[in-house]
């Protein structure tokens, strides 16, 4: 198993902050501490620190940080440095709260954040995603510019979070910089960028939100519908309502159920809890009580929408499609996006979730993959995971003759790791990519219109498990 190096670098940052704190506390003059040279620390991710056993520096009570402060300025600075430490290295729940406190602290927080952000997006990546909020919310153009650099660096792993905080604090002169993000290859970036439209509060931008209702990603469609309903475009409720009866699956993955939970969460906020008539997203939509709730909710939404006839496109409608086959590949890359691809039994390539797109494969493609699986895979022996828990994932769902489906994962955190994919899976995924027709250019899956599915898959795979060998 590959071990993270995150602990060392995060501790190095914490140690630098402690040194800065000692320096500031022993001097009555407000002297800016020397910035730690985080570039010398090994590449890693501060969030890889244990979420339940934080670093000693971050765990110390906040009061300790300022107990010996000689004056209020030094005291405030010490407190800000402690908040930075907690935002980067604290326990899971404390990080966003420390970040929020920093946003309210003003100049002391600006100084403390400047000490740790380094000079490159690589430096910034080591701090995790929570410090991005004060970087956007504090009145510090240089920190904000660092966020913009990160957002435009495809290798920065927290682009969605950086986009979200920039969008929610969008400045009037930044509009041109948000527009490309609305067409970003990552659906989570596209969804986050939509908030920049909301902050402008300019109803002439409604068509841009309506265009996002046609996005192939349900994440983006939900974000657009949410904002449109907030702008009194009640017809967008229909997009959210469609998700509530989804029962689609990708092999064992309950993609429809996830959509139900997400849309129900948004609808509860927009309509309030009682307006869902007791609908339970975790219960089958065909359950009698849930079905009755959906019927009542649907009627209420139609009554609210009135005569407006705008409805979701076919690919955004409720579905019960179950994707299955000889091999399923789920790729989740924080840098290169998410892909769901399956080789079905009858020489079909199935791409996407919900209502996926299908392509014809060369005759015998499914049998070739099945033969490779039968020759190489054993349902009862061997490891099922390589790497460490993280959100960069290659998940292979392999149908082994005479046994249960194998679920094999290559996983890692945001740091780059070479050659993580074992030879066995490398051979399998190369075989899969080789079966993908060279002329398939799926729309709405990220990349430009010129990118073939083969190229997109290869790039995403390289960003998780390393180069295809």
């Amino acid at each position: 198993m590959v071990r993270s190096k995150g602990g060392r670098s995060a501790r190095a940052i914490g140690a630098a902050l402690v040194l800065a704190l000692i320096a500031s506390c022993s001097d009555s003059e407000p002297v800016a501490p020397a910035a730690p040279d985080v570039r010398d620390a090994p590449a890693s991710n501060a969030t890889a620190e244990s979420p339940v056993a934080e670093s000693p520096d971050a765990a110390a009570p906040v009061a300790d940080a300022s107990a010996d402060a000689a004056d209020p300025i030094a005291e405030e600075r010490a407190l800000a440095e402690r908040m930075v430490s907690i935002a980067c290295e604290g326990t899971l729940a404390k990080r966003p709260q420390a970040a929020q406190r920093l946003s309210a602290m003003g100049e002391a927080a600006v100084l403390a954040v400047r000490q740790v952000v380094g000079t490159t997006t690589h430096d910034l990546a080591r701090l995790g995603p929570d410090l991005l909020r004060p970087m956007a919310e504090l009145d510090a153009p240089d920190l904000r510019e660092r966020l913009w650099e990160a957002v435009t660096d495809a290798d920065y792993p927290y682009r969605p979070a950086a986009t979200k905080w920039l969008a929610e604090t969008a400045r009037d002169d930044e509009w041109a910089r948000f527009e490309p993000l609305l067409a970003d290859p990552l659906s989570s970036v596209r969804a986050a960028a939509l908030s920049s439209i909301a902050t402008r509060d300019d109803r002439s931008l409604v068509p841009m939100l309506e265009a996002a209702l046609e996005d192939r990603s349900d994440v983006v469609r939900r974000a657009a519908a949410d904002l449109l309903v907030q702008w009194d475009r009640a017809y967008a409720l229909r997009w959210l309502f469609e998700d509530l009866s989804r029962t689609d699956r990708f092999f064992d993955l309950e993609t429809g159920e996830s959509a139900r939970y997400e849309s129900a969460r948004v609808l509860r906020r927009l309509l309030d809890d009682r307006a869902l008539f007791g609908y339970q997203p975790g219960v089958d939509p065909n359950d009698p009580a849930n079905h009755a709730a959906l019927t009542a909710l649907g009627a209420a939404i139609e009554a609210r929408v009135g005569a407006d006839e705008r409805r979701p496109p076919a690919f955004a409608r409720s579905t019960d499609v179950v994707v299955d086959g000889v091999l399923g590949l789920e790729i989740r890359s924080c840098r290169r996006g998410e892909y769901f691809v399956a080789i079905a039994d009858d020489d079909r390539l199935v791409v996407g979730t919900g209502r996926p797109t299908e392509y014809a494969l060369e005759p015998g493609a499914s049998a070739r993959i099945a033969d490779l699986v039968a020759a190489r895979f054993d349902a009862t022996e061997g490891p099922t995971m390589w790497g460490e828990l993280g959100c960069d994932i290659e998940c292979y769902r392999v149908r082994v003759p005479g046994g249960p489906n194998l679920v094999l994962r290559v996983m890692k955190g945001p740091e780059e790791v070479d050659d993580l994919r074992p030879d066995l899976l490398d051979e399998l995924v190369r075989a899969l990519v080789a079966e993908v027709p060279t002329d398939v250019r799926p729309s709405g899956l990220g990349g430009s219109d010129d990118d073939t599915l083969r190229a997109l898959l290869s790039t995403a795979l390289e960003s998780v498990g390393g180069d295809l060998r």
């Binding site: 339940v52 729940a93 404390k94 966003p96 979070a161 939970y261 828990l389």
Partner: protein, 158 residues
């Protein structure tokens, strides 16, 4: 073959039948001598939940916890979710979260269940799994005023 779940269900169903029915006066049982008797929640069938049943609400520090979630306080539950990606080593405590990837959203205290294993420990677990135990619902603050959790579960991996 009996699954663990079916055995627990049978035991949970049988225990009330083995106890005296509606005693006029509760028998005097030393605290801790009989977990089932001292903990009425242990006698009930565990409630099956998805992490998202608890975490899919809007909340900021200072907001109340919805009533329909408070009703799970003290109940035995089986909760399905993912181990937080930051877990690297063998642990006896870990956050259970709704998605395998948490890069896109900040994780506030209402976005995870703080799981403590009563017996043994575990290494990192990929994919979705279930934990069984007693759920505690309510804000816990540390000395600095940070809310460190809303949901806690003491139990075991199912």
């Amino acid at each position: 073959m009996f699954s663990t779940r079916s055995i627990i269900g049978l035991v949970a169903a049988a225990v009330p039948a083995l106890l005296p029915s509606a005693p006029a006066e509760a028998p005097s049982i030393p605290a801790g001598s009989c977990p089932a008797a001292s903990d009425p929640a242990a006698l009930l069938d565990p409630v099956e939940l998805d992490v998202r049943d608890l975490t899919s609400f809007e909340w900021e520090v200072g907001d109340p916890i919805p009533e329909d979630l408070l009703r799970y306080d003290g109940r035995r539950v089986i909760i399905r979710g993912f181990m937080y990606q930051g877990v690297e080593d063998v642990v006896d405590q870990f956050p259970l979260v709704a998605e395998s990837c948490q890069c896109n959203e900040r994780l506030l205290p209402h976005h995870f269940i703080d799981v403590t294993l009563k017996r043994g420990d575990t290494g990192p677990i990929p994919g979705e799994f279930e934990v069984l135990g007693k759920l505690s619902v309510g804000e816990v603050e540390d000395e600095d005023g940070f809310v460190v959790s809303l949901f806690r579960l003491k139990g075991e991996i199912y």
